[in-house]
Symmetry: C2
Subunit: 330 residues, 2 copies
Amino acid sequence: MRRLVNDPYDVVEEMLEGYVLAHDKYVKLLANDGRVVVSKKTPMQDKVGVIIGGGSGHEPLFIGYVGSGFADAAVVGNINTSPSPEPCYNSVKAVDTGKGCLFLYGNYAGDVMNFDMAVEMASQEGIRVETVLVTDDVYSSATIADRRGVAGDFFVFKAAAAKADTGASLDEVKDVAVHANHNTRSMGVALSSATLPASGPIFEMEDGEMEIGMGIHGEPGVKRGKLESADKVVDQIMPYILNDLPFNKGDEVNVLVNGLGGLPLMDLHIVYRRVAQILAKHEIKIHISFVGNYATSMDMIGMSITLIKLDEELKKLLDAPCDTPYCVIK
Amino acid sequence: MRRLVNDPYDVVEEMLEGYVLAHDKYVKLLANDGRVVVSKKTPMQDKVGVIIGGGSGHEPLFIGYVGSGFADAAVVGNINTSPSPEPCYNSVKAVDTGKGCLFLYGNYAGDVMNFDMAVEMASQEGIRVETVLVTDDVYSSATIADRRGVAGDFFVFKAAAAKADTGASLDEVKDVAVHANHNTRSMGVALSSATLPASGPIFEMEDGEMEIGMGIHGEPGVKRGKLESADKVVDQIMPYILNDLPFNKGDEVNVLVNGLGGLPLMDLHIVYRRVAQILAKHEIKIHISFVGNYATSMDMIGMSITLIKLDEELKKLLDAPCDTPYCVIK
């Protein structure tokens, strides 16, 4: 095991303790719930609360995107495990200003169950909470509603959060999130498993192998095979993404080439080069690109490619300034 | 090998091609030299040119810090190899406004030789170029001038660049860089080698081992040993750093817990937690902290800890806004 931790059962608490110390300009833990990271801008006034969350181990997702112009709170589960309903509910109590809250998270069964229970709990107190599930991982199911959420979270969360900052209603913010998710597609490749601090690799993958389409928790992909060149890998992934929405000639997109943790920034830019070549060939215009570790699986070696098709409103919302520990847009 | 590249001998060119495509709002390659990344703000007026550089494989260092409020250009060598004198010279020609230029880089023999040749070449054209070497790696030598530069580059470059943006003279900018370097100390730990795309690991390190004090290219550290807990590792590193300047009770510092590439952000925050505890015990005040991959060795698993002792001027310069692909301060 090549991890630098203390007791493996304390990693989430110790990470959060370090996180709020390191980024105390931006965030704090909720006084009554150590699994809720809230923006220091809270409590705010007359604004829909934007709450994101899920299992740990995907940092900087989710906690890295709490701050100004982005999420108001993140609810933190154990590694690859949904947060329980209580912190989800506590996050609502912390950020609701009377305009209601929006839960945004990737579509995983455990998260859906626990966040939905929190919706019920809030409802009993007269607080309206709506939910939008991110479902950007094209290979995870033929049925869009059954797909998992991966790095596309980044664009969906950002668009909805920027909309909430305009003073929009809960229905309007929800509509933006639904629309952003509708326009977002991702697919990735894994070259290794992540390493769990308590038990080691989640699955075995030999050095020199890869699996295109694999999920960030190791969910099965297209096929396990011999590692190919960056260009060949991108050439196999891009048709899945482009044909799914589909993205067409004349479309404008933002691009995210996302590292899963252990792949060098060098390789991510070599991947980006090929993505840009393919988009140019299809006459799809790139507005802004992001290249780096935005949604990881701890030390997993691999990457994913995300496109979001833009219209004027999404472009404006994604361009809007934000200031969080792991995403600053001026 | 778990790298995602094409021909291993093309990685630097393909990375740079992807880099300037992805971040074209900020940077471009010099038309006459594909190994010089320059800010799109160039040519500027009446400002000392701040030029950084060194071997590739440390991304986001150096190219990630070219932009507004930071370096004007970065000169790019092959992996772990100094750039040759020509691109160093070409970077001067590209950013000099008549006020001269400052070369800033980590203290490695190859870099010193080649950047110094470029100083001579520029001098023959009447352009004054000064040099400040970063020497923050406390374990690399007992003699400060012989020490290597590692993640402390980040603070030294930022302080000097912010000074240059005030319209200061070359001597004044150089003085700030010398002072920032004087106040900066780093030390790290490696849990694995980096993987060279053409030849694999630089050195062998068994799973479960670590080497405190190791350099980012694999230079020998204190001792090779069994991997210990995050707290125990930090407890061993911090005295080297604190006793070296030394940092004293009442001092104010910025902290950088830097990932070398493959260590999860979770672990970096667990490390940060212990650093903050130790600084609190010593009554050393933390101003701003940075936690993430700022100066890597590609996929090397490990981290380094950097402290810079602040005074009013350094604090102001490090706080000054900047906008580059891999460092945005609002």
